[in-house]
Every structure is written in C-alpha cells, then in structure tokens.
Point group: C2
Amino acid sequence: MQAELLVEVTRGGAVESVHYGHVAVVNAAGELVDGRGAPGLPAYPRSAAKMIQALPLVRSGAAAARHLGSEQLALSCASHNGAAIHTRPVTRWLAALDLAEQDLRCGPQMPDDRPAREGLIRADESPCQFHNNCSGKHAGFLTLNKHLGGGPEYHEVDHPVQRAALAAWEEICDEATAGYGIDGCSAPNFRSSVTAVARAMAKFAAAPDGSAEAQLRDAMMAHPELVAGEGRACTELMRAAKGKAAVKTGAEGYFTAILPEQGLGIALKVADGTTRAAECAMAALLVKYGVLDRDDPAVRKRAWTTELNRRKIEVGEIRPAF
Amino acid sequence: MQAELLVEVTRGGAVESVHYGHVAVVNAAGELVDGRGAPGLPAYPRSAAKMIQALPLVRSGAAAARHLGSEQLALSCASHNGAAIHTRPVTRWLAALDLAEQDLRCGPQMPDDRPAREGLIRADESPCQFHNNCSGKHAGFLTLNKHLGGGPEYHEVDHPVQRAALAAWEEICDEATAGYGIDGCSAPNFRSSVTAVARAMAKFAAAPDGSAEAQLRDAMMAHPELVAGEGRACTELMRAAKGKAAVKTGAEGYFTAILPEQGLGIALKVADGTTRAAECAMAALLVKYGVLDRDDPAVRKRAWTTELNRRKIEVGEIRPAF
C-alpha cells in the first residue's frame, strides 16, 4: 500500500483507527512542494473539483450573458446542505432560464440541513432535485447548455456541456484524464492524479483578477455558507480563513484547497474514502500553510479534536499523524 | 502498515477506495485457521463484544432470578435501532426491576429506526436513554447490579458490574486485556487481540446447550430483529443464516460471528473503522464458511454489491478483495 498515514483516531489513550491517503501541495510554478503517499496515482476528486467543472460556465460567456452574480457562481461550485438559502436561489435561477425542477438530472436527495429535513418530515413531503447537494452545479450546467444550445441530457459524457467540462479539466490539470465514473448526481467525474488536481488548484490560487478561475474562487470565499452550509467543514474553514483559502470537499475522502496569498494548491484523497479523515488532514494542512490558527474552533472541531460520547465524556481524539 | 486489503469500492471500472484490516477465524480447539493482517494486535471490539459483556448476567444467576426470557437476553447483546420493538421491552424490563430511565447511564441517542426518529421529530420530542442503541445492554447491567447489590454508577470500570464483565472477558478470550477505553454508551470497552476475540466467539460456537454462552448465542439467533433492526446487517444476515450464525457489529469497523455448526468463531477489525467494509468482509466470510449463499439478498446488499446513485444509475461496486 503506497498511501501514507494521515490521521489517527484514539480511544482510551490507544490508537483505535487509522486513515492512510495521498496529498499533493503544488506552487504557482506548478512544482510539487509537498507530496505524501502516491499523489501521482489517479483518483476521482468527486465534488472537490466542482470549481473546475464550473469553468466553462464562466469562460464561455454564459454566466455574463445571464448576469450571474457571485452567489450563483458560489452555488455552481457547491455541495450544499439543501437548506432554504440554497434551494430558493437555485429555484429562482432555473426560473430565470425558463426551466424547472424536472429539467435537472441530479436526482432528489434528503437535505442534510436539519430545519429543511425536519420540515419535509413534518409536512410528510419528499425531497426534490433542488435539495440535491449538486443542484447549483447542475443549474450552472443548464445555464451553459442554454448558451450552447445542447439537448436536455446535459449530464451525458458526450453532451457538449460535459465535453466542455472535460476540456477545461484536462487543460487546467495539464494531464490527460484516466477515464471517468458516474457521480452521485449522474454527471461524469474524471480521474486525474492528486498532483494534477493540486496543480489545477494552484492555477486557481494564482489566477489574475477577472479571470474565470478568480471569479469562481472569490465567489466561494465570499459566500462560504452557499458552498456547503451551517456546521459543515467547507463553510466553517472558509469563514475562519477570511479570504485566505477557498476549500471544497468531495465524496470518498477527497478535499481541495486554493490558497491565493501563498499561490498554493492542495489536493488530498483519503484511501478509505472517509470524510472525517479528509477534514482532519485538510484542517491540519491549512494550519501548516499559515492560513488558519491551530486553536481556531473550525480547526479544533476536525483536527486535534477531543471526542465526546453521548454523555459528553471524553473518550479519545482525532489527530493528524503528519 | 500490517493490515491486509479486505474490501475495494469501485467507480467507472476503477478502484476508488480501499479498506484494509485484520481477520481471525478460530476453531473449537482454539486454533487460528485463517488470519489476515495482524490479528495478534489488540483492538477495541466495541459493541461486537456485547455477548461477552452479557455473560455475567447469565452466569451469576441474575437472569434466571429475574426470569429473563430470550428476548431480554437478545436485547442485552443488541445495538438496536431504537424502534418501538426495542424501547418498549427495555422500558418494561426496567419497570420490573423497580427502575426507570434515569437509572440508565448510556445517554440519549436519536434512534436509527425511521418511524421512531420521524415520530420524535413530528412530536417535537427529544430522544431518551431508552432509544440509545445500548439500552438493552445497560438493562442487563442493571439486572446484574440488583443481584450484586452495587451502587448506581454501574458503568464505572471499578464497579462490581464492570469488574465481572472484565473477568468474563479475560477468561473467555484467554488473554489479559490491553487496557480499556470508554465506549459511546459510557461503559468500559476492553482491548484484546482480534485472535482472542475470535477465540471467544469459537467458545460461544462450541458451548454446550444450557450454558450461558449457548443461551446468549441462541437468543441472538432466535430474535435477529431485536439485536439490530429492520434493514440492518446483523438482523438481515442472521435471518438469512437461519440458525447457522450469530453475528454482531461494533463501532469503528469491528464485526464478530459465531458459527455453531462449524464450531468456528470469527472476528474482524477494519483499520479505518468503516462500517461498509466490515459488513462486506463479514458477509463474504459467512459465504466462505458455508453459512450463507453468495446470491442471498442479505449478502448481495453488502458484498459484490452494485452501487446505484440518486437516479438509480449503476456507478460501481463494493466487493471483497480476498
């Protein structure tokens, strides 16, 4: 196994569980300045690459033609909680395109946001596609699709929308993709080395004002609550970083970060796909690279974290192992 | 890393995530017949050892003195869903001991059972300690405590109830424990090698009729729905095994099995603590050792499993790697 120990979970003073993975930190010159595990191996970045998938929306001029604001750009990069602050603007966005819920291809999902979820349960209602954590990304796809004049199955890999996503992906990663898989939201997700994704994040970090990369990066940092939701890692870490980092989680233990001041890009993949480990490792890396304080509550909730049980008794710790 | 590859998760034909771990299969003679990873290293079996923690309840005569039936013995070994079929009998059990919810020390927990959980949400009520997945184990502790005449803090490691649990644990594992941690339910959980826990499970498998081990094992197999709940691995795998296996999940990727016909005990720990991997590996081992058919729906839900996304599109597979 070429992965490297990233995170330990302890109980009663002993290590109970371990998480291995791969990390790449790349600078603005495209150089790998910190590699752990085997970052040269391909992996699916999943939702941690949403800012890459949103590039054609901006570059094509579709976003400008539709007068999308930074809120919509942030939502196009989001894995949101399905809270009202997410579903309402996406609903309005589609209406402005003369589209509706049935034009989405992401599928329905029970929202993670507690008021939204419990509201559905109390009303005995089912979630719809607007609640899907990817509905903002798909609204972005539909906006691009209106611009390109493609057919309704915009999620299919040979559709112009996804061909544009792939072209942007390979260009900014500077690497041919190693195939694709179908994501939870039915869009293709491409396989690239962790190093290549970190290289893409470094380009987002160093991108000049006004570029598509800078617009998307700055929209994420301006609206941390739209990118994820209350209590979530992306929202809390971006709020704490105060404009020094745009970060994005992905399924199966992926996490990316864009550090504009340092001109650094970070990508990491936890080999076992565990979110707690990806969040712990990313929080620790943001501390290491100087954008967050180790004692910040957003960090301590995820790294060097005292774990409490159901009676609030201290049982162990989650800590970075590097 | 001494752990061995146990489970692979694929997407788009490529391996996306991997799970390593440790496995021990021990026969009735106490011999390790199949070892993977480093099963000699200590780990916390967590709730996968509840049948061991319940031994003093039966051996002391406390269960017989209180006329506990097989339902209560099954609940004493359970990590249940907090459904009405679990919380009602535990409530009645405590009432028969002249005890009430506040005598429990497991803490409240939102039930996993959907009707119970949504019922609480609709009624705007909070969960109580009866909903805690360990409330049956704690009812067993309280029953033993009445018998022993101990103080109310029965969950403390130096309390007679936990001293009895430790003595039974070290005796049946035939190994000194390597310290303890505090479990989610506030009871101590002891650290033993995976091989020693498998040895204990083999003793449960080979135990003569009427013994405490056989009573607990047979109670689990007689009431699969009480040990976990609808849709859960323990319940579905035991139903499918039709008396050929008692199985028990534990937090952080632990799983145990008792195979009476074969006289085998199985214990496994997934190094990263992931439930999906523990369930996949255990389902595959139950197939390997002849108690379940590979095509049984209870198996195929967890091993050699086609993964579907939110629009029911096939995206990948979870499969054993051994």
